[in-house]
């Protein structure tokens, strides 16, 4: 599961006011290289919740992203490389996503998060 996916998911448990971002419990991280697509990065940048993204990257062991970023950073190749790497090349293979309000664990196995809710959570 890429961090791009993590930046889109929130806990939808009944009663939770804000289920984003899900905290991450790491057991195994895998790196898979893909080609950098600068246009894609520039288009997606404004849609990313940056603080959550940088924090998630740190949790996966990558601390190179700045705490804050604005679109002027996109002119820097160095920034694009780091953005690309954290967004698309780091994968949480094993671990869990945790609802920030209830602490409920959604396990991640073989890169697939299980977000199925129990009957009383719907």
């Amino acid at each position: 599961m890429r961090l791009l996916t993590h930046n889109m998911l929130s806990s939808n448990i009944k009663g939770v006011a804000n289920g984003f971002p899900l905290r991450i419990e790491v057991e195994k991280v895998v790196e898979k290289k893909v080609d950098l697509n600068a246009d894609f990065l520039r288009n997606i940048f404004p849609k990313i919740e940056w603080k959550a993204f940088a924090e998630a990257a740190r949790t996966l062991g990558y601390a190179e992203l700045p705490e804050d970023a604005d679109s002027s950073f996109l002119d820097s190749d160095d920034f694009l490389d780091k953005f690309h790497h954290a967004l698309l090349e780091l994968h949480l293979e094993e671990g869990a996503l945790i609802c920030p309000e209830t602490g409920r664990r959604f396990p991640v196995n073989k890169g697939i998060p299980n977000m199925l809710l129990h009957e009383d959570e719907v």
């Binding site: 998911l9 806990s11 939808n12 289920g19 698309l88 697939i112 299980n114 199925l116």
Partner: protein, 221 residues
């Protein structure tokens, strides 16, 4: 990539052998390739985009999106066995697809990051309304377009509900296809049944994107 090439690659994927109560009819390579090829060549809704395959099953639509250059593809399904199969299929084609196990209705999404949703939702035969549930969520999540297959017999109903209740600014049938449903279930009486399905393109409101000037001739598959 040419259409025939795409269809050939998708033909190598493993399909369901043991479907359960969820109305899991695999989207064959013929329909999947045409669906995504149209989405990309007529509307540019695939390459460099974030694409989500709702009810991905063994992952055919998501795989097609990845093969046509989608930058990030997610496949969502409720069933573990399907997801296992979908993972193997993605691996076979050396595609990176992010799978998520979830009930479509209960998944929490943040933001407007998904560009395009592609899906072959349950027809709503076994569990009434399942097709509309999927469409409802798709139109909330997609920021550019939703491509979906629905029985031709439901055409008027779908158009009405999509425009009136589900936040669609447009709802167009791109073409009519024939979907072979083999006798997978005990409740099927005939050996094989041909169902007429419409390939729809919906555009959610609040999007200023491409209109629907392009139409395919209807035909049989």
């Amino acid at each position: 990539m040419k259409l025939k090439q795409l269809e050939g690659l998708l033909g190598e994927l493993q399909q369901f052998s043991n479907p359960k109560e969820l109305e899991q009819y695999p989207t064959g390579p013929h329909i999947a390739s045409r669906m995504l090829f149209t989405a990309e060549n007529s509307f540019e809704d695939v390459s460099n985009k974030v694409v989500a395959d709702f009810g991905c099953g063994c992952g055919t639509l998501g795989a097609a999106a990845a093969l046509l250059g989608a930058e990030h593809v997610m496949g969502i399904d409720i069933d573990s066995q399907s997801l296992e199969l979908a993972s193997l299929n993605a691996e076979d084609l050396e595609l990176d697809i992010n799978f998520i196990q979830s009930d479509i209705k209960n998944l929490g999404w943040r933001g407007q990051i998904v560009d395009t949703v592609v899906m072959n939702p349950p027809f709503g035969t076994r569990k009434k309304g399942a097709d509309m549930d999927f469409l409802c969520v798709a139109l909330k999540v997609a920021s550019q377009a939703v491509y979906s297959l629905h029985k031709t017999s439901t055409r008027d109903h779908i158009k009405r509900v999509a425009l009136r209740d589900l936040n669609a600014s447009s709802a167009e049938v791109l073409c009519e296809l024939r979907f072979d449903v083999p006798q997978l279930y005990k409740f099927h009486k005939k050996k094989e049944v041909d169902i007429a399905v419409d390939l729809w393109r919906f555009v959610p409101k609040g999007n200023q994107g491409k209109g629907t000037e392009h139409h395919l001739k209807s035909g049989t598959s």
